[in-house]
């Protein structure tokens, strides 16, 4: 076993639909090794903390293992940057001390137990019995000791509090047996290296794009879960992504970025070279247009989010509000503050049966959906990461909050899990959306919505109003960690309510003229802003994207900014949305100086 350094690598998957309870005959001894080591741990694992007291024992143990088969191909301007194919297995053991009411979880302490090998690590890929038992043995030992230590710290902390929470720490569930036959990875007969070269070469046509990179990320996983409650899961998932980021410098030194992304349930479902080239060409052309566009002005007034942008906006704004779990107890108040400023606490907590959206609107999260009117949805799964069968949840009905997404961590409004405990790369499962559909009973056609927008604009006597055509995803569009860090810093305390549009137009009501602007940022846009929507289109858009699972970002407004390597597949379906008053902050930021030397030649065909 090799100790895992939790990097920003993350995992992604899509669920194979069929679930067979039959234990198939194959050469996979994973579950058996888990079963046997679990039996030993359940009956014999105990620690004598203080002499004379009853020994401490775990009341819950969970084995999770992820078998990963990943291909990553990266190219720029027609040249291959890297190609990797890696199979690995990651294991995580979690033990809980105490009971369902109060246990060792949900507590963030500054001093954590440090075992010498740890409860998380990479393990052998042979699916054999003996090596896994050895690895499970030591990981269980470490997880249990960690839980015992955290439990006593937590008890000490709780005894110092005047009032203690009456919410349980862990929800009970029915045990589940769900063992799918072992799947084999199907990479199709496509030459992914050549496709990456061919598609990325499209951007050679734009010599003023400074940097660009196209990444193909293809994943097959088998996920195992075994708990001391009797749940046994072996489930196959797959997922495929093409993501591209690109940047350029405007004449005034402002950096402009753009991106392209497309996701599919399986590698074979990814769009072919011609379609990707087309998408990259659009992004490249738009980036060039942004380069020479005027900086966005400060603006307050009506804004029309076209459906492509509206669906991304809904993902960003509502994503964090859907979680019904309570955040962990933090030992330090500063951590608490940080979490709420990032929006980690649900805005909708405590608002059950209150109106949170316009009365015509309903919001449904459906992990079992595989497509929306023929367009594939990537957020589905059959069983969540805690072994709970996925359920369709009506979150909002006729504008009123009816439900929240729940994992096994109870919250103030709901206690039971509804199968939304999701995580990537064996991180702690959190309530996370899957396929979210924003629907309304009062919609209008695109043209009507636009007319309404223009009328609104006229009645406010504005020269122009703003249309948002696409939202940014800096996790893909920004090509350097420095840029991303700079962006996070620029949010200041507004990370929960600032939004990042990417393609924004001024629309002049006088003559219907459109004019691209760059560098706009929407400010003060919270879930409350969605209570009043001036118009809802009927042009639903399926926005497949990756929700971030990076600590500190996950579960916040920034959680919508994931990429294939650091996110969880999700989908939001929403139509165009018109708002009467949105605040837009104009272009800001330190200009960069263009390079001293002119760019070296880049011929469209390439120098190969």
């Amino acid at each position: 076993m090799r100790m895992l350094r939790l990097a920003a690598i993350s995992l992604v998957f899509w669920t194979a639909s069929a679930a067979l309870a039959q234990a198939p005959s194959d050469n996979d001894h994973t579950l058996q090794a888990m079963r046997d080591e679990m039996a030993r741990a359940k009956s014999r694992l105990e620690l004598q903390i203080t002499q004379g007291d009853k020994p401490v024992r775990p009341y819950f143990i969970e084995y999770r293992l992820l078998d990963l088969d990943v291909r990553e191909v990266v190219a720029e301007y027609g040249a291959l940057l890297s190609t990797n194919h890696n199979r690995s297995r990651i294991m995580d053991v979690n033990a809980r001390v105490g009971d369902y009411k109060l246990d060792s979880s949900n507590f963030v302490s500054e001093e954590a137990f440090r075992g010498f090998i740890g409860s998380t690590g990479t393990v052998g890929i042979d699916r054999d019995y003996d090596s896994l038992r050895q690895d499970l043995w030591i990981a269980t030992d470490q997880a249990f000791k960690e839980a015992a230590e955290t439990y006593s710290r937590k008890q000490a902390y709780l005894s110092s509090l005047a009032r203690q929470s009456d919410i349980d720490d862990f929800a009970r569930v029915e045990k589940v047996e769900h063992v799918e036959p072992l799947a084999t990875s199907d990479w199709s007969n496509r030459n992914w290296e050549q496709e990456a070269r061919d598609t990325s070469a499209t951007l050679r046509a734009f010599p003023l794009i400074y940097e660009s990179r196209v990444t193909y990320y293809l994943v097959y996983t088998t996920e195992y879960l075994l708990t001391s409650e009797g749940t046994e899961v072996r489930a196959n998932h797959s997922f495929a992504a093409i993501e591209a980021g690109m940047n350029a410098l405007a004449g005034d030194g402002m950096q402009v970025n753009h991106y392209y992304s497309t996701y599919a349930p399986r590698p074979a479902d990814l769009p072919g070279v011609e379609e990707v080239k087309k998408g990259l060409n659009v992004a490249g052309s738009e980036l060039m247009a942004m380069r020479s566009a005027a900086p966005a002005p400060d603006y307050t007034g009506p804004v029309l989010f076209e459906s492509r942008a509206a669906s991304a906006l809904v993902a960003q704004v509502l994503g964090p509000s859907l979680s019904g779990a309570r955040p962990p107890l933090a030992f330090q108040p500063v951590v608490d503050q940080l979490m709420s400023s990032l929006g980690a606490r649900s805005d909708w907590s405590g608002k059950v049966d209150s109106r949170v959206l316009p009365a015509s609107v309903s919001l449904v999260d459906d992990p079992s959906a595989t497509d929306y009117k023929g367009t594939k949805l990537i957020g589905g799964y059959a069983i969540d990461e805690e072994g709970v069968p996925a359920q369709k949840v009506t979150v909002v009905e006729n504008g009123k909050l009816k439900n929240l997404l729940m994992s096994r961590r109870p919250g103030p409004d709901f206690e039971k899990s509804n199968g939304h405990g999701r995580s990537s790369f064996l991180a702690d499962p959190r309530p996370t959306m899957s396929n979210l559909v924003f629907g309304s009973t009062e919609t209008v056609s695109r043209d009507e919505l636009k007319k309404k927008f223009v009328d609104e604009c006229r009645s406010e006597k504005l020269d122009f109003c703003l249309v948002v055509r696409q939202m940014d995803n800096p996790a893909i569009s920004m090509m350097h960690q420095d840029d991303f860090t700079g962006l996070l810093a620029s949010f200041g305390g507004n990370a929960a309510t600032d939004r990042l549009p990417l393609v924004v137009y001024k629309l002049y009501p006088k003559d219907g003229r459109e004019e691209l602007v760059r560098g706009a940022r929407i400010t003060g846009f919270s879930p409350r802003s969605l209570r009043n929507i001036a118009g809802i289109g009927n042009d639903d858009f399926v926005y497949n994207y990756m929700q971030s699972q990076i600590n500190g970002i996950a579960g916040t407004a920034l959680g919508a900014f994931g990429s294939a390597q650091s996110g969880l597949p999700a989908a939001v379906v929403a139509p165009s949305l018109l708002f009467e008053e949105v605040e837009v902050r104009g272009a800001r930021g330190e200009p960069k100086r263009p390079p001293i030397l002119p760019e070296p030649p880049m011929t469209p065909k390439g120098g190969q």
């Binding site: 076993m1 090799r2 350094r5 001894h29 058996q32 079963r35 046997d36 080591e37 030993r40 741990a41 014999r44 694992l45 105990e46 720029e76 301007y77 027609g78 040249a79 291959l80 940057l81 890297s82 990797n84 194919h85 890696n86 199979r87 690995s88 440090r114 075992g115 010498f116 090998i117 990479t122 393990v123 052998g124 890929i125 042979d126 054999d128 003996d130 090596s131 896994l132 038992r133 050895q134 690895d135 043995w137 030591i138 030992d141 249990f144 000791k145 070269r197 940097e211 100086r593 390079p595 001293i596 030397l597 760019e599 070296p600 030649p601 880049m602 011929t603 390439g606 120098g607 190969q608």
Partner: protein, 586 residues
């Protein structure tokens, strides 16, 4: 960091040490060594001319800016790497990857005073970590990357120089600051062949499974990892002074690593590595199992061995242990840049020409040396990371300090590099050790050396002395404001008794001392040089090094207790060694 110069990172990627400064790099560094110069097959890579074009174009324009760039250097490193590792009897990973890394260095000002000039004793960094560039030979895409990176590096060098020029007027110049910032070196041209390998991973997959299964069979071994790596690395170096180099090197390595725990919770690791260059010299199963058996036996002994009390006694260090001892206690202090930094302790800075070791000892750092006896030296290379040819450097001649390991950062009295500017990919080169070789003309056989140890124990009236068989490295404090002390962690230590009792394996000791005092306590050496190959981590990252020494006998060695672990041993016995059987493979 100049506070802590850390020692051999023998675990390679198996364990993170806090002193690795550039751990985030994607590509681990292996040494580069040229093959025979003037090889008929050697042709410059097609990328050479693209790099040259961009270099000339940049130098022409940036050299005329204010402040001017006076030096631009490009390094392109092509890595082809295979990694097969096993753990506890199963395959952990088996993969291969290829990538190319571009590093650009731009210096502004002039050799005497440039953007790397130390202000407040700290050297501003020069050059960024670099970037990934395509593995396909596409001159246009590479030129684009070079163009952007050169501009970025010029900007930061220009900004740094302006800061230095402002700061310099208000700060007093220290003596160390009188040396120029960058040495002038002769241009070198060398085009070696582009190297590559073919390795069948399958047999290695079987081997790592079998070797780690052998470890799992021992109840004392909690975890085992065996890793095979092969790397072909090709390097292109160009600079505005006219140096043009292309060279490649292939290296193979097998590492054995096991972990255990003593009854009181103390963590115990054992590690062994094989390094080879020629595929035909790969260790066979017999050799590997012999090493594995030794590690297992030591682990089984160590987990039940008693903890040693702090003591000052005579001690015998076997060759490999002595080699690490010299690397730590002497080698790091002979690295040139440490003599320049006002924050450094500068143990030896003013000692040139004076006696620092017993007169029977000579210490050289010879990076042109490929082998000692039949063993490869990991610190061998033909050109350093600043494009300077490798050289043999006599550091200590019959006890008298003569020289330092020098990069292109000169110090007073040592204006030139002697080819020791080294770095891990992505880091900025500083002077580092290569092949540190200890030579002695007071040699006795190893058996006689042991007899002498017992004589010393009796003479000093001590109950026992120590035999130190393996050292993990540790850290040495070279920073000013800290005691000029070193601490190394011996892994296999025996008590040797004067009364003829058998040696007793002990654990939990650290060797401590001060370098100037400790080095003069050496009284004799053995007659067989032994090689230690490892990776050494310091300011410029982890670099491959060798240390070579015969066994040494020292009249006095101080050991202290290691800090205790807080973790207890596992509650249950290992599944394979549990008397009560649970389950099992059907």
């Amino acid at each position: 960091l100049n506070e802590q110069t850390c020692a051999f990172l023998r675990r390679g990627s198996l364990r993170a040490l806090s002193c690795i400064l550039f751990a985030s790099l994607a590509i681990p560094m292996l040494p580069r060594v040229t093959s025979a110069a003037g090889d008929g097959a050697a042709k410059p890579s097609p990328l050479f001319s693209a790099m040259k074009t961009e270099l000339d174009r940049s130098m022409k324009t940036l050299g005329a800016q204010d402040p001017p760039a006076y030096y631009i250097g490009y390094i392109l490193t092509d890595n082809d790497r295979i990694n097969v590792s096993g753990s506890n009897g199963a395959l952990l990973t088996s993969d291969e990857g290829r990538n190319r890394w571009l590093e650009v260095s731009v210096r502004t000002g002039a050799y005497e005073l440039d953007d790397t000039h130390k202000v407040d004793g700290r050297q501003p960094p020069n050059g960024g970590p670099g970037m990934n560039v395509p593995v396909d030979d596409d001159a246009e895409v590479l030129r684009r990357a070079i163009w952007l990176e050169t501009d970025k590096q010029y900007r930061s060098a220009a900004e740094a120089l302006i800061k230095i020029q402002t700061g310099k007027e208000v700060k007093a110049q220290s003596e160390e600051g009188k040396a120029p910032d960058f040495s002038r070196e002769k241009e070198v041209t060398h085009i070696g062949p582009w190297v590559s390998f073919t390795v069948d991973r399958k047999p290695w997959e079987e081997k790592v499974r079998a070797y780690t299964k052998y470890f799992r069979d021992s109840a004392a071994v909690i975890n085992s990892i065996v890793t095979f790596t092969a790397q072909a690395q090709n390097t292109i170096q160009l600079n505005s002074e006219g140096t043009q180099l292309q060279f490649g090197q292939i290296r193979y390595r097998l590492e054995l690593f096991i972990q255990g725990k003593a009854g009181d919770g103390m963590d115990i690791d054992r590690y062994y590595n094989f390094d080879w260059v020629n595929p035909s010299e790969a260790p066979d199963d017999k050799a590997v199992y012999a090493a594995a058996a030794q590690l297992r036996k030591e682990m089984e002994g160590l987990v039940v061995s008693p903890i040693n009390d702090p003591s000052v006694t005579p001690a015998l260090l076997t060759g490999r242990a002595a080699a690490v001892f010299f690397h730590e206690v002497f080698g790091h202090r002979a690295e040139g840049h440490r003599q320049k930094d006002v924050n450094e302790g500068q143990t030896f800075t003013k000692k040139v020409g004076t006696q620092i070791l017993p007169s029977f000892l000579t210490v050289i750092d010879d990076t042109t040396r490929k082998r000692v006896n039949d063993q490869e030296l990991l610190g061998f290379y033909e050109f350093d990371d600043e494009g300077v040819p490798a050289q043999k450097v006599v550091l200590v001649d019959h006890g008298i300090l003569r020289n330092f390991e020098m990069s292109r950062s000169p110090i007073d009295g040592f204006p030139k590099s002697n080819g020791h500017g080294r770095r891990q990919l992505g880091a900025v080169p500083v002077s580092r050790q290569g092949n540190l070789i200890v030579e002695s003309n007071k040699m006795v056989s190893n058996a006689q050396l042991r007899e002498k140890l017992i004589e010393l124990i009796k003479e000093q009236g001590k109950p026992y002395g120590l035999l130190i068989d393996d050292i993990a490295g540790g850290f040495t404090l070279t920073g000013r404001g800290q005691p000029q002390a070193f601490q190394v962690e011996p892994l296999v230590v025996y008590k040797v008794f004067a009364d003829g009792r058998p040696d007793e394996l002990v654990r939990g000791v650290d060797i401590v001392g001060t370098p100037l005092a400790s080095l003069t306590k050496i009284v004799a050496t053995g007659d067989t040089p032994e090689v230690f190959n490892g990776y050494c981590g310091a300011e410029s990252g982890s670099v491959p090094v060798s240390a070579v020494s015969p066994a040494i006998l020292t009249s006095e060695l101080e050991v202290q207790k290691k800090p205790a672990a807080t973790d207890r041993p596992p509650i249950l016995p290992a599944p394979a060694h549990d008397k009560a059987k649970t389950g099992g493979l059907q």
